[in-house]
């Protein structure tokens, strides 16, 4: 037995040596920075372009090593707080708040001006996505405004008029009902739907309501607007059948992923597809597809959801100065033109959406009617309202859970929203109770909220600086209810 165990030990030693020797060929004399990011095929090309850009600008040279295997949010969190996080951390919309809360992200405010990565370098409205707790936590490598893609040929085939550029909820519903009636033979199982899904955030906001109040101190889901939005979702799914249910989705495809939804759109199962510019990465594989762009349906306040991931620098990184050059690269022409060509997103620097290369890509004339409209949507795009008192992932999960309960007939829309509000406010109370710093901030904002409500009750304008919810900042200005300076 001891010979056997000794042999195994020897084998392990040899394997370790072989592993080390094989790694030596990958090492470089230059510093190597790790970038934890999604498994996007465009990343390799972006890194090669980055090396050229460093050389052209005579910046210090270093290498970027892609790490796709640790892009899961929980892995970023655990590795980060354990002191072994990647130098550059790519964060999805909801993740930045959690990672910032741990203190593991470097505050970029002092170096932002030097590297031209201040929030005003990118799209207006993104401040709330990159400025968290008064600190700049990252810079967006990509920006997206959610939109609908229309399969124009499908509308023509079923003799249906194309929807208007902006449409109301009633127009959307009427168009949807007419379309599915024309597209599906009576007496057979429905195969074609009007749209894959609708964004509940935009829908609720179009009615003048957000998940949180003006100061984001309380959840406000138990409101007539939120209940109405959810009741509409139920009706569109279960009564009008213009949106597929989970059962319908399973009937059409094996899973409800972005890829499968895109595939179903290409297979003419939907007239409209919810997406953003990144959807074109997959839709471009079907050059015969005749597309058009529309905004989400709205009540009295047209808007779309602004989504942006961001890349931050790990506070314990040994190469923070070098990492800042990588963020600066996102503002460069080389990077933005790469984004334009790959269609990975809308370029993070607005200027590039006015270029010919963006508006009329020479090799894709069939897309000339799309890109301008996608950029236009960014003017009505508002980022997610993320309360500092609850993680967005938690709030979204709770709302989603009760929404599904409503769709599964466990609760009515009213009951589901009342329970979701109760659960979210409970989480807020727990977080505030546990953190003295948060508590002080919360108390101040409660006072501001009381002031806002008193002013509104008196019919007086509200100072914009009192409002922290990005939606209400835009909404109050649009309604003429606010005074003072400030963007969304």
């Amino acid at each position: 037995m001891k010979y056997l165990l000794g042999s195994i030990f020897l084998l392990l030693v040899l394997a370790t040596v072989a592993d080390q020797l094989s790694r030596r060929s990958e090492t470089s004399d230059l510093p190597v920075l790790y970038w934890v990011t999604d498994a996007n095929p465009a990343r390799e090309a972006q890194i090669l372009r980055f090396y050229d850009w460093l050389e052209e600008n005579d910046y210090p040279r270093f290498r970027i090593h892609l790490d796709n295997s640790n892009s899961d949010a929980s892995k970023k969190l655990i590795q980060g707080i354990s002191g072994v996080g990647a130098d550059l951390i790519h964060m999805a919309r909801d993740e930045a708040w959690l990672l910032q809360a741990t203190g593991m992200l470097e505050d970029l405010t002092p170096i932002a001006a030097k590297h031209h990565i201040t929030p005003d370098a990118t799209w207006p409205g993104l401040e709330s996505a990159v400025l968290i707790g008064g600190q700049q936590v990252g810079f967006p490598p990509a920006v997206n405004a959610q939109n609908f893609y229309l399969n124009v040929d499908l509308f023509e085939e079923f003799d249906q008029p194309l929807p208007p550029e902006q449409w109301t909820i009633d127009e959307f519903e009427a168009a949807g009902k007419a379309f599915i009636a024309a597209a599906n033979p009576p007496g057979e199982r429905q195969q074609i739907f009007f749209v894959d899904t609708v964004n509940m955030v935009s829908l609720r906001r179009s009615m003048g309501r957000s998940m949180f109040n003006e100061t984001m101190t309380r959840c406000t889901l138990d409101t007539p607007e939120s209940v109405r939005a959810h009741a509409l979702l139920y009706k569109w799914m279960h009564v009008d059948h213009i949106i597929p249910t989970h059962a319908d989705l399973d009937f059409l495809a094996s899973s409800d992923t972005v890829t499968s939804r895109n595939q179903l759109f290409v297979q003419r199962r939907y007239a409209l597809l919810t997406g953003a510019r990144y959807s074109l990465v997959q839709l471009r594989d079907y050059p015969d597809l005749h597309l058009a762009v529309r905004a989400a349906p709205h009540d009295h306040f047209p808007n779309v959801l602004l989504g942006a991931s961001s890349v931050g620098i790990y506070k314990a990184s040994k190469h923070k100065e070098l990492a800042a050059y990588f963020l600066e690269f996102f503002t460069s022409e080389a990077y933005n033109m790469g984004i334009i060509q790959s269609s990975d997103a809308t370029p993070p620097i607005p200027y590039f959406t006015t270029t010919e290369a963006y508006l009329r890509p020479p090799d894709r004339p069939n897309e000339w009617n799309l890109h301008g409209k996608l950029a236009d949507l960014l003017t009505i795009a508002i980022p997610l309202s993320a309360s500092p008192f609850i993680l967005p992932t938690t709030a979204s999960r709770i709302e989603r859970e009760f929404r599904y309960s409503m769709l599964a007939d466990v609760y009515t829309a009213k009951e589901a929203m009342a329970l979701a509000e109760q659960f979210i406010n409970r989480q807020i109370d727990l977080n505030v109770e546990a953190d003295p710093v948060l508590r002080a901030h919360f108390k101040q904002l409660l006072k501001d909220q009381a002031t806002i409500e008193a002013l509104r009750a008196a019919g007086k304008p509200v100072p914009l600086e009192l409002i922290t919810n990005p939606f209400y900042r835009r909404y109050y200005v649009a309604q003429g209810w606010a005074v003072g300076e400030g963007g969304p």
Binding site: K2, L5, A73, S74, L77, I78, I81, S82, G83, L98, A101, T102, G103, M104, H246, A247, L249, D250, F251, L252, S254, K315, A316, L391, T393, T394, R397, E401, F402, Y404, S405, L407, A408, D409, V410, F423, Q427, L430, A434, D435
Partner: protein
């Protein structure tokens, strides 16, 4: 005690071999275990307590536990966990049946071979006939057909060894891979389960068109009466045990109290004015008889059963399960004509709030039948002395009597061990399934306590609170295990 140099050398070698294991256990099990216990009483939140923050960790006593027990979601997830555990008795039964089949207890090997040969021949004949008649097979049907044929052929050639390997396959297949496979199997449209169910449901649908309208009511009424029968039989057993002074009043009340579960649930599920009384009135009469008989009878001296409470708990579980299934069938039978009129569709297994949990249970049952439990039962069966069976044969025992009076009592320690391990796994489990197949949905229907720990620990970052959930779970596991130790039968009747 004095060791010789040789003994010292042997001791040293032994310890050296143990060092890696003990070190690993200390570092990765014992230390985290102790730490998690301490952390359960702290406010550790990774957002505020980590290497980048200076805020001190505070001991907050039992606050995490107070919060936990006042959290409505905790009770929902505990309910989900317990609901999924209802499959454990069936899984144990399935393992036992598999073990009995695989040990070939009481079967002659040539008979098995002949049966396999006939089955293979029938399968080939059926497939060929269908092909000749122009039946078009889909890819999955061909695959399943060939799979069955291969299994039967392998059984003919390799005998029970092949089947033991096949039955044990789920256990050494990676969990995530099997979950993904089941996800495909549950696909409402393309999955083989619904493909198999569709023609059956169509037949039922057509059958109800030709049956009189009252057929659903008749079937429903019969099913309700069937639901009462196991409860009455259970009550009779309890009364007999009381009259024989095997159980005291406490146990009597406990058992009869537990037997009212179907009545409570039946009251909720049965929605017509006559169905619920049809179930509840006879059951209450039976309960009244139990109390009347037991109150009158005061045994002079208790003579507890040597098997503990197991002879009562198992029939209780069986009676409650059969009764609940019958009530469910009754509900289905009564609604079936109406449902058949509008068309019967197979369930949307994983996406339907009401079907998601049963779907997970079915999969867990499949995995449990061919698990270590089956291996343990096989080992237990091979250890039963042949003389006991010979004696039973001489006494003229039937096959059922041989099982009930020889096999089952002899397997008591194995069953006891399997029960405890299954309950522990049941309470701790569900995370991988929920994460891979349903993400805890729909609407939290498949979120178990272990998944709740993950959400609290790694989504919200409250590791202190997550540790409290873990230790609450530990207390639950410990309590159930102690109850099992106290009342379960773990001794063989020599």
């Amino acid at each position: 005690m004095k060791y010789s140099p040789r003994q010292w050398r042997r001791l040293r070698s032994g310890l050296l071999f143990l060092v890696p294991n003990i070190t690993g256990f200390m570092l990765f099990t014992l230390v985290p275990l102790v730490l998690s216990f301490v952390l359960a009483f702290t406010n550790w939140d990774v957002r505020r307590h980590n290497i980048f923050k200076t805020e001190q960790l505070e001991f907050i006593g039992f606050q995490n536990f107070e919060r936990l027990f006042s959290h409505p979601a905790f009770w929902q997830y505990l309910g989900n966990t317990l609901f999924l555990m209802l499959g454990i008795p069936f899984a144990i039964g399935g393992s036992l049946v598999a073990a009995l089949l695989l040990t070939g207890e009481g079967k002659k090997k040539p008979a098995l071979r002949i049966a396999l040969a006939i089955a293979s021949g029938l399968l080939i004949f059926s497939l060929t006939t269908l092909l000749i008649l122009g039946f078009e097979f889909s890819g999955i049907q061909v695959l399943i057909g060939l799979l069955f044929l291969s299994i039967l052929t392998a059984g003919l050639i390799g005998g029970t060894t092949v089947y033991r390997t096949i039955f044990y396959a789920p256990h050494f297949t990676a969990g995530v891979a099997t979950f993904l496979l089941w996800k495909k199997m549950y696909n409402p449209q393309t999955g083989p389960i619904n493909n198999a169910l569709s023609p059956i449901l169509s037949t039922i649908e057509n059958a109800f068109r030709f049956l009189p309208p009252a057929s659903g009511l008749i079937l429903g009424t019969l099913a309700i009466l069937l639901a009462v029968l196991p409860l009455v039989l259970l009550h009779r057993k309890i009364v007999r045990a009381r009259l024989d002074a095997e159980i005291g009043r406490g146990v009597l009340f406990g058992l009869t109290g537990a037997s009212t579960i179907p009545l409570v649930l039946g009251w909720r599920w049965l929605d017509t004015s006559w169905q619920a009384p049809l179930l509840i009135v006879p059951a209450l009469v039976s309960l009244g008889w139990v109390f009347f008989s037991s109150v009158r009878h005061r045994p002079f001296r208790m003579v507890p059963s040597r098997y503990g409470l197991m002879p009562f708990i198992l029939p209780l579980c069986g009676a409650v399960s059969v009764s609940l299934i019958s009530i469910g069938l009754s509900v289905v039978a009564i609604r079936l004509p109406g449902m058949a009129e509008s068309g019967l569709n197979p369930p949307n297994w994983l996406a339907d709030y009401h079907w998601a949990k049963p779907a997970i249970m079915i999969m867990a049952f499949w995995a449990a039948v061919g698990s270590n439990n089956m291996i343990l039962y096989i080992a237990g069966l091979t250890n039963i002395p042949r003389e006991l069976y010979d004696a039973a044969d001489i006494d003229g025992a039937s096959r059922l009597q041989r099982f009930w009076n020889v096999t089952w009592p002899q397997l008591a320690p194995v069953t006891f061990f399997i029960s405890i391990m299954s309950v522990i796994h049941g309470l701790q489990g569900g995370f991988e399934m929920a994460r891979t197949m349903t993400q805890g949905g729909p609407a939290g229907a498949t979120t178990t306590l272990s998944y709740f720990v993950f959400i609290e620990g790694f989504e919200t970052g409250r590791l202190g609170y997550a540790s409290a959930v873990v230790w609450a779970l530990f207390v639950l596991v410990m309590t159930v295990t102690l109850i099992n130790f106290k009342f379960g039968n773990r001794y063989v009747n020599d």
